[in-house]
């Protein structure tokens, strides 16, 4: 009896003094970490993740998160699937994250569904993405989500006629479709829908022929970087602003491109989900940490999507105490709400897609010469309008 007690005591002592073995949870992040899209997506992804980790430490004292980054430069469904499989089977990741391009996210959905890997989508913004796997969660946005309020705002500003000009690829077509639908439903008239080939470098002719139709406004959707730069300059230099044709956009003035757009961008009005100029303590703290870790980085929508995506991962890891329990993880994040640097956000309990404010912003120049997206109007708690029909 005495001996058993002694042994027990010794055993308890041994357990409690044994060094705590930290549980490692691996997260595979797939994105364009090199190549033409690294500046607007890959780098912001990594910066968002690392900023969140630097601000919040590890999920709990005895769980350590390890992020494994895998480079996927372009839309390449086969490679996306192979990378996801490799991360799950060989590296033993419990979670996946990232994905810039919709085709890649859709291709990896089979792996997520079959292996039951909770996956946080950091960008891919076609409506259909999240429904592809019961373990998909999205922390970026969908195209209808930002296009519909943008159309409503155009109507409220009194624009009655509009011409749409979008790049001829999936996201452009989605943006056009949802904008046209919302604009016509509100009584507006769409004079023409122009789809411009992705390789277009000279936008002048499009803008000249739009000018001849004298619409109240021009709705645009273009990929980040060079096309946006050329288009915005062409909009100014072909005199559409002087002709009174308003520019209506969404992601065109995102922070990673904004400074390089220069003076041509001043006054442009866009509807989108994150502005670096959003006034909140959460955004200030986020920007401060980001600037400390990455002095050259711009706080970009993609950075915030990855930042919030990391929050979602942490919530799931905490709820499951680091153990692989995909259903409990997804249950924990479904319906969750928190205050993001962009404002209040919720993961829809049914669709696992994001519900968030869409802000109408206008580009202003600050005293130090930097351009900012000043928020002037808020459309609160916008869902993904794409799945409602």
């Amino acid at each position: 009896m005495k001996l058993t007690k002694l042994l027990l005591a010794a055993a308890v002592a041994a357990i409690s003094t044994a060094p705590l073995m930290a549980e490692t949870v691996k997260v595979g992040v797939i994105g364009p970490f090199s190549g033409p899209f690294s500046g607007s997506f890959g780098e912001p992804f990594r910066q968002g993740v690392e900023t969140y980790v630097a601000m919040n430490g590890q999920p709990t004292d005895d769980i350590e998160v390890e992020f494994i980054y895998r480079d996927l430069q372009a839309p390449d469904p086969g490679r996306a699937r192979a990378l996801a499989q490799e991360l799950v089977a060989r590296d033993g990741v419990q979670y996946l994250a990232g994905f810039v391009f919709t085709p890649n996210a859709i291709a990896a959905a089979g792996i997520s569904a079959q292996a039951k890997i909770p996956t946080v989508i950091f960008n891919a913004s076609a409506s259909a993405v999240v429904s592809q796997s019961p373990y998909y969660v999205r922390t970026s946005n969908t195209l209808p989500q930002v296009s519909v309020p943008t159309a409503q705002n155009a109507l409220e500003k009194g624009y009655r006629t509009v011409v749409t000009a979008v790049s001829d690829y999936g996201p452009g077509v989605d943006a056009e479709t949802s904008f046209v639908k919302a604009f016509e439903a509100g009584g507006g008239e769409v004079l023409e829908t122009i789809r411009m080939p992705l390789s277009t470098t000279d936008f002048g002719p499009y803008l000249q022929s739009i000018q001849l139709q004298e619409p109240d406004a021009l709705f645009v959707f273009l990929p980040y970087g060079p096309p946006t730069y050329s288009f915005v300059n062409a909009y100014r230099n072909n005199g559409l602003d002087d002709a009174g044709i308003a520019f209506v956009g969404t992601s065109e003035t995102q922070e990673v491109d904004l400074q390089s757009l220069g003076e041509a961008a001043i006054g442009l009005e866009t509807g989108y989900f994150y502005s670096a100029a959003h006034e909140s303590p959460e955004n200030e703290a986020f920007k401060e940490k980001l600037a400390e870790l990455f002095p050259d980085a711009e706080p970009n929508p993609a950075t915030v999507s990855a930042f919030d995506g990391t929050h979602a991962l942490y919530e799931m890891i905490r709820a499951t105490e680091g153990q692989p329990d995909p259903d409990a993880a997804i249950a924990a994040i479904s319906g969750a709400s928190w205050e993001s640097p962009r404002g209040p956000i919720t993961i829809d309990a049914e669709t696992r897609d994001i519900i968030q404010n869409v802000y109408i912003r206008v580009v202003e120049q600050e005293e130090n010469g930097r351009l900012v997206n000043r928020e002037i109007k808020t459309y609160e708690a916008q869902p993904d309008y794409g799945v409602q029909d």
Partner: protein, 290 residues
């Protein structure tokens, strides 16, 4: 209708001049020197970055920055020619392709490291911003830069290659390097100079075309087909041919944009297909080649 045709012509020619400016350097290196120079865009990009740095960081006037940018591209090309490029002139074309595509990838990685992966704008001076009123419509003022530079380089290159001793030496060297060498021409120096001139013109084009083809690390790869299209359609080695080809391609693509927006890019490639099936050597074959 008349104003539509006028618009197509104005936009087409001004776009064609941009195409001519960004590929004029290639007509020298690929056309005249017959060196398969896929790194042409790299030198255009170097020029663009140099001009952006001169204007933004050093505050130099635009025109001076333009000239210095061409000089920087030329000097870098001169160094590369001595170190690498001259070793492959006599080798098969595949070796030239491999070397220059290697230069392209090195250029992408280096410029991404130095200038970041986003595009770098070249700030325009006040007098080149905004639009110019042509009476019945307006046109971006910046388009006068490729217009003026395009005509100047066309004239300059013609004078240099057809009317100077250097031009005679270069044509002799290209047509028969051995005979040229035996006649006392320093063929190595002629080649190095011609390559540097081609790169300097590329640099000039990179700056002049930057409003449409903004400077960023992937520039050399993204627009490679465009450069090659102009030179191939015009007929390699023929400066006037490249000029006509650029205007033609620009006008056809622009007409496509006005008349059938979704097929505009196809119009350009369709024209290329037709011209090259009809005349594989390009619109204007170089007569002296026989």
């Amino acid at each position: 209708m008349l104003s539509l045709i006028a618009s197509i012509l104005i936009d087409g020619i001004s776009y064609g001049l941009v195409l001519f400016m960004v590929s004029v350097g290639l007509t020298v290196t690929l056309g005249l020197m017959r060196f398969v120079n896929l790194a042409h865009g790299t030198f255009a990009m170097v020029g663009g970055y140099a001009a952006a740095t001169f204007v933004t960081a050093l505050g130099l006037p635009y025109v001076l920055a333009l000239i210095l940018a061409a000089a920087v591209a030329g000097i870098i090309a001169f160094g590369l020619e001595i170190a690498l490029v001259r070793r492959v002139y006599a080798r098969p074309e595949l070796d030239q392709v491999l070397l220059t595509i290697g230069l392209v990838f090195m250029g992408i990685a280096l410029s991404g490291m130095i200038f970041g992966n986003s595009l770098v704008p070249i700030r325009l001076p006040e007098f080149l911003r905004g639009s110019t009123d042509l009476g019945f419509r307006s046109m971006p003022t910046q388009r006068f830069v490729p217009l003026v530079l395009g005509l100047l380089s066309l004239a300059g290159i013609w004078l240099l290659f057809e009317r100077t001793r250097f031009g005679v030496k270069l044509r002799a060297t290209v047509d028969n390097p051995r005979a040229a060498g035996e006649l006392g021409i320093n063929t190595r120096r002629v080649y190095a100079a011609a390559f540097a001139i081609g790169a300097a013109l590329a640099g000039l084009g990179g700056v002049a075309g930057a409003e449409l083809l903004p400077v960023e690390p992937y520039y050399p790869l993204k627009y490679l087909v465009l450069f090659l299209a102009v030179v191939a359609v015009g007929g390699p080695g023929n400066m006037a041919g490249s000029f006509v080809a650029a205007i033609l391609l620009g006008t056809v693509e622009t007409a496509g944009k006005y008349l059938a927006p979704e097929f505009a890019t196809i119009a350009l490639y369709a024209l290329m297909l037709i011209v090259l099936s009809w005349r594989p050597e390009g619109l204007f074959q170089r007569s002296s080649k026989t």
